[in-house]
C-alpha cells in the first residue's frame, strides 16, 4: 500500500516547530537582541595632490600604504580614491583622497600607530615627495527611520492585498492558510535572525520579515495553482481533503522549486559580486526564502486541510439549503 503524505495530521508538529523557534527567538532577542552589524567603521585617509606632487605615482603610494598596514597587522575591507571637486563648477581640483576602510573591531590604538608610521614613511619617501596628509577617522552611520517603517508597511500591505486576490481566485481557505504562513514566516525569520546570529543592519530585520511575507505569498500561490489544477483531475475525486491536499503538495515540489531555485541563484550571484555592504543584505535573503519554502510545503497545507473541509461543508450545505428554498417556492 502506498503511504500518502497527510499534511493535516502533522499540523501540531509544525505548530510546535514554529512555536519553539519563535519562543527561542523572542527569548534571545530579549536577552541579547539581533546581531547588528556595527554601524561604525574606521577609515584612514591619505590626502594628496595628484597633479602637482605624485602624478602617476598613485600605485606606489597605495603600495607604501598597504605595506605599512600589513606591518601593523591591519587588513582593510575596502579601498577607493575620492576626487575633490570645486563646489562652484563641480570640476576636479586635482586633490585626491585615498580611503582605506577597516572593520570597527580594529583598535583605535593600532590604527593610530599605523597612521603615525605611515606619515613618517611617506614624509621620508623622496620619490613620492610633496605634501601628503594621513588621518584616521571613525564613522557611525545614522538610520532614516521613515524608510524602514514604510518598507515594512509596504511589504505587509502588499502581502495582504495579494492574499485577498488569492482568496478570490482560490478560495478563502487558501487565503487564510496563506495569511497564517505569511505571519509565521515573518516571525520565524525574525527569530532565526536572533538565533543564528547572522549580522544585519539595524533596519534590516523588519525588512527581511517583509521579504519573508512576500516570498511566502509567492510560494503559496504556486501551491494553490498546482492544487487548483490537480483537483480537476478525476483521480482526486475519490480522495478525502487531507489526501487530496497531501498528494498535490507532494507532487508539486518541482513546480515550487521552479520559483525558489532561480530566485536563490540570482540573490546568491548578486551577493557574491556585491560590495560588502550590499552583501550583508543580499545573502541573508536566502533565509526568508528557505522559511517560505518550508511553510508552503508543510505548514500552510496543514492549515488548509481543516479550513478546506469546513469551507467545502459550508458550500455543500448552502447548496442543499438553496434547494430546499427552491422547493418551498415551488410548493
Amino acid at each position: 500500500m502506498t503511504k500518502r503524505f497527510l499534511p493535516g495530521k502533522l499540523l501540531p508538529v509544525w505548530i510546535a516547530v514554529s512555536a519553539v523557534l519563535i519562543v527561542v527567538g523572542v527569548v534571545l532577542f530579549s536577552l541579547i537582541g539581533f546581531n547588528y552589524a556595527s554601524p561604525e567603521k574606521k577609515t584612514v585617509e591619505i590626502g594628496y595632490d595628484a597633479v602637482v606632487y605624485i602624478a602617476e605615482k598613485e600605485d606606489k603610494l597605495a603600495e607604501e600604504c598597504e605595506k605599512v598596514f600589513s606591518e601593523n597587522g591591519l587588513s582593510f575591507t575596502d579601498k577607493r580614491t575620492d576626487r575633490e571637486l570645486d563646489v562652484g563648477y563641480v570640476s576636479e581640483t586635482g586633490n585626491y583622497k585615498l580611503v582605506y576602510t577597516f572593520s570597527s573591531a580594529v583598535k583605535d590604538e593600532t590604527i593610530g600607530n599605523a597612521v603615525k608610521s605611515l606619515q613618517q614613511a611617506l614624509d621620508a619617501n623622496s620619490e613620492l615627495g610633496g605634501d601628503i596628509s594621513v588621518t584616521a577617522h571613525t564613522l557611525a552611520g545614522e538610520q532614516f527611520h521613515e524608510a524602514s517603517w514604510r518598507t515594512a508597511v509596504a511589504l505587509g500591505v502588499a502581502a495582504i492585498v495579494a492574499l485577498v486576490y488569492v482568496g478570490f481566485r482560490f478560495g478563502w481557505g487558501s487565503a487564510i492558510a496563506g495569511l497564517v504562513a505569511c505571519v509565521n514566516d515573518a516571525l520565524v525569520t525574525l527569530s532565526l535572525f536572533a538565533i543564528v546570529r547572522i549580522p544585519v543592519y539595524a533596519y534590516a530585520p523588519v525588512l527581511f520579515a517583509g521579504i519573508a511575507a512576500v516570498f511566502s505569498v509567492i510560494m503559496w500561490l504556486a501551491q494553490c495553482m498546482k492544487m487548483r489544477e490537480n483537483f480537476k483531475d478525476p483521480a482526486y475525486a475519490s480522495l478525502t481533503v487531507q489526501e487530496a491536499v497531501g498528494t498535490s503538495v507532494a507532487g508539486s515540489w518541482k513546480f515550487a522549486l521552479c520559483f525558489a531555485v532561480p530566485i536563490a541563484v540570482v540573490f546568491a550571484v548578486l551577493g557574491v559580486i556585491a560590495s560588502n555592504g550590499l552583501r550583508l543584505f543580499l545573502l541573508p535573503v536566502l533565509l526568508p526564502l528557505a522559511v517560505s519554502v518550508y511553510s508552503s510545503f508543510l505548514l500552510a497545507p496543514a492549515v488548509l486541510v481543516p479550513l478546506k473541509s469546513k469551507f467545502d461543508k459550508m458550500k455543500s450545505s448552502r447548496k442543499k439549503y438553496v434547494g430546499k428554498k427552491k422547493a418551498d417556492v415551488q410548493e
Binding site: 597612521v115 571613525t138 532614516f144 486576490y165 495553482m225 521552479c258 520559483f259 560590495s275
Partner: protein, 501 residues
Amino acid sequence: MGKIKSAIVLTLITLVIAVLCVVCFVPFPLGGDGIHYFNPIINWADKSADLGGYQFGEEAEYLGGSYSVVFYPEGVISAKEYRDSGEAEEETEYVPYAGGSVYLDKEKVCGGGTEPTEEFKAAFNAQLKCLKERFARLRATDTVLEVRDGYTVSATLPASLDASVAAFLYYSYMGDVAVLYGTSSDASTASQIIPETGSKQKPASDYIKGASMRTNLGTAFVEVDFTEAGLNLLSGATSGAAESAGYLFVQVGGETVINLSVSEQISDNLYISGSYTSDAAKIVANTIDTALHLENTDFGMEMGELYRVNANFGALSLGSFSVSALNLVYIACGVLILAMAVFFLIRYGLLGFANILTYLLFFEIMVLIYWALPVAIGAGTLAALAISSVLLCVSNAISYEAARKEYALGKTITSSVKTGYKKCFWHIFDLHVVLFIVALLTYLIAVTELSLFALALTFGVALSGIFSLLVNRFLWYVTMGLSKNPGKFCHFKREEVEDDD
C-alpha cells in the same frame, strides 16, 4: 507559418535585437579621429551611487557614483585645515580630538578645557537632528549620513540627484529664519522684517507656518506659508513696491536661500517658481521648514571639501587584476543569460531559441524603459531586472511544459501549443497579477531604494506578462516553422503505450 516566411520574420527579429543591442550596450568610434564616439544608452543613462562608468569620447564624463562632504560645526576644524593655517599663526588655540583627526576650538567648544562642553554637545546634537531630518525629507536613494570623529557629520548623496551640491550647501545653513526687504539686490543693505526686531521679538515660526515644495503642470515651486502676523508685516514692508521695486530675501542662519525682486505689495503666501527643478525646490523648502520647526542653536555649521566617490558596487580587485563595477555587472548578466540559454537548449532543443530571442528582446526593452523612467540604474533596478527575468523564463518554461504534456498524449504540435497555453494561462496570469500588485503597492508606499526597486519591478512584471503570453507564443510559431518535425524540434516525445495484443 511557411519556412520562407519564418526565416524572414526571424531574420527581422534578430536584426531588431542586434540594433537594440548596439543602441543599448555597444560604444564605437565615429569619424575615426579617436575623439568622437557613439555612446550607448547604458553609458549615458543615470546610474546610482552603486554603479558608475565613464562615457567614451571627447568629454569622458563620469556618470554615477556619489558626492560626499563633511560638515564642520563652528569651532571644529579638520586636521588639514589646522596644519594649513599654521598652528603658530592661529589666534585661537585648538585642541586635538579623536587622535588628531579634528581640532576643537579651546574656548568656544571646550570652555577652556580639552573636552567639549555640555553646551556644545547639545548644540551638535541639535544640528545632527536637523541634518538628519533634512536628508530624510529629500528621500533620495543611496543617501548616507554618518557622525565622523564624534563631532562632524559626513554626508553622501548620489551624483544622479541633479541638486546634490546645492543640498550640501543649503543643508549646512543652521540657525533662525529671517525675512529681509530692501531696495537693493545686496542683502546686507536690507532691513529685517521677520521676525520683528526690538523688545517684542518672537521666533520666526510665529510669522511663518512652514515651507513646502509644490508642483503644478510640471513646474516646481516653493510655497512659503505665512501666519496672519507674518502677512501683516510683509504687506506693510512691501506697500511701496508698486512705485519702486524692492528685493525680498529669505535667510536661514544669515545665509540667503531665496532672493526675489518685488514689484507689487505682497498680501498672500509666497509661491516662488523661478528656475527650480523639483529637487532644488524641495531642498530650499526643507531648509526653511526645518529651520522653523527644529531647535536652533548659536553654533553655525560649515560645509567642508566636496568629493566625488566613484561607484564600488561589485568592484573587485584581485592583485593587479581589477574589474570595474559596470563590467562586473555585464559579466554577471552574461553568465546568467548563458546559463539560462544552455538550460533551455538542453531541455527544449531548438525551441530554446524562441525563449532566448524572447528574453533578449525583453532585456533590451527593459533597459530602454529604465532609461526612460526617472530612475538611476543601480542595485535596485538590477535586482528588479533579475527577478522579472526569472519570472519571464519560468513562465515560458511553464508554457513549454504544458505543451509537452499535451504532445505526449498524442496531439499535434499546433493543438498541443494551443491547449498547453490555454491550460497554463491562468497560472501565468495569477503569478503576474500577484507580483504586479505587490510591486505596485510597494512602489506607492515605500520610499527611496525600495520604491525605486518596486517601480522597476512593476514595469518588469507587466512586460514579462506580455512577453510570455504573446511574444513567446508568436516566436514559438515562427521558429517552429523552420522545422519539418516540430516534435523533435521541441524535444517533445509521445507517450509510449503498451499494446496488450
